[in-house]
Symmetry: C2
Subunit: 214 residues, 2 copies
Amino acid sequence: MRLAELSKRSGVSTATIKYYLREGLLRPGRQVNATTAEYDEEHLRRLRLVRAMIQVGRVPVATVREVLGHVDDDSLGRTVRLGAALWALPHVPEPDTDDEHLQAAQHEASELLRALGWRNAELLTSISPAFRSLVVAVAAMRRLDFDWDAELLMSYARLMHRAAVLDLDFVETRETEAERVETAVLGTILVEPMLQALHRLAQEEESARRYGFE
Amino acid sequence: MRLAELSKRSGVSTATIKYYLREGLLRPGRQVNATTAEYDEEHLRRLRLVRAMIQVGRVPVATVREVLGHVDDDSLGRTVRLGAALWALPHVPEPDTDDEHLQAAQHEASELLRALGWRNAELLTSISPAFRSLVVAVAAMRRLDFDWDAELLMSYARLMHRAAVLDLDFVETRETEAERVETAVLGTILVEPMLQALHRLAQEEESARRYGFE
C-alpha cells in the first residue's frame, strides 16, 4: 500500500508517519520509484505499536526506540525478549532517600516472592525493575505506618498473578513470534490503565453494596 | 506535642509542616502561648495523609485541599464521602477526539457492568470518573484493533472486584469513621502502584515458567 493508504488504515496522519520514519521507529517502505514507497501489513502493525506507546502510554521517543530494539532482536529467548522490551517502559521513579524503610521493604518484598513460591524469585529480586518498584511501594507504606500484614500483600499478589495468566494466554493466541512480543508490549500499555479504572469502579460498587447511598 | 515532636514523629520537616499549615492542609494547633502551639494524634494522622498524597501520589496542593474537604464532611453518607474524596484524585486525561470508538467503548463498558451483575451499574455509568477512565481505556484498545473479547474483560473485572473486597475489608479494620475515610484515600494512593508492580512481576514469573530462559 502507499503512504496515503497506510495513513488511512492506521488512523495516523502522513506527517506523523514521516516523523516516525525519520526517527527510525518505522522501517522504510520498499522504494518503487524516486518518490513512491510501498508499505505492507508489517508496517501497519508496527505503526499501531508505536502509536500506542507514544499516544496512549506517553512513552518518550528514545524509549520507544529502545523497546523496539528488543522487540526486533530475535536472537534472544522469548522470556528475555519480552522482559527486555517491558523493562524499557517507564517505571516508578526512585525515591530521593535510601532510608531504613527502603532496606526493610527490600527484605519484605523478597520474603513475599519466596512465600508465594514463585520459582524465579531469586532472579526477579536481583534484576527486575518491577521488583524495585514493588520495594518503593512497600517502603512508602511503611514510612506512613500503614500496618498491612504480609498475608494481605500475598492476597493481592495472587490476584495479580491470575491477571498475568490471562495476559499471557491472550498473547499466546497470536500467530507469529513477532506479533506475540508486540502484543505483550501493547498489552502492558493498554491493560494497566484499564485495570486501574476497573479497580476504582469495583471499589465504588462494593462500597455502595456495603454502605448504601444515605 | 510541640511542632518539633510532630516533625520528628511524622518524618516531615518543620518547614514543610508550616507550609501545610499556611495552605490550610493541616488544622492549626491549640495555641498555648504567643509562640507555641500544641498538636495531637489527629494532626499526626492528617499529616501522614497529606504527605502520602503530595509525595507519593504527586497530587497537586489544590486537589489535596479538595479531597480533604470531602474527607472532613461528615454530613455525607460513607459511600458518597468515600466516593467524593477518591473522585477528586487525578484520573486518566480525556482523549482529544470524541470519535466513533469512544461511543462504541461507552456502550461496551456499560454492557460489561451490567453483564457482571453490578447492582449500581446504572449509577456508576452516569456519574463515576472511573467509568469514564474505563471508556477511554477500552476506546484506546478498539482504536488499535486490539481484538479482546467481552469475556476476557469480564475476567479482569472480577479479579479487580476481589481486590476491592480486600481493600474495603482492610478499611473496615479502622476504628473511627474519620480513620476509615483517610485509610481509603491512603489505600488508593499506595495500593495502585503496588498492584502495578506486582502485575509486572507476575508477568515475568509466569513468562519464565512457560518459556524458560533460553
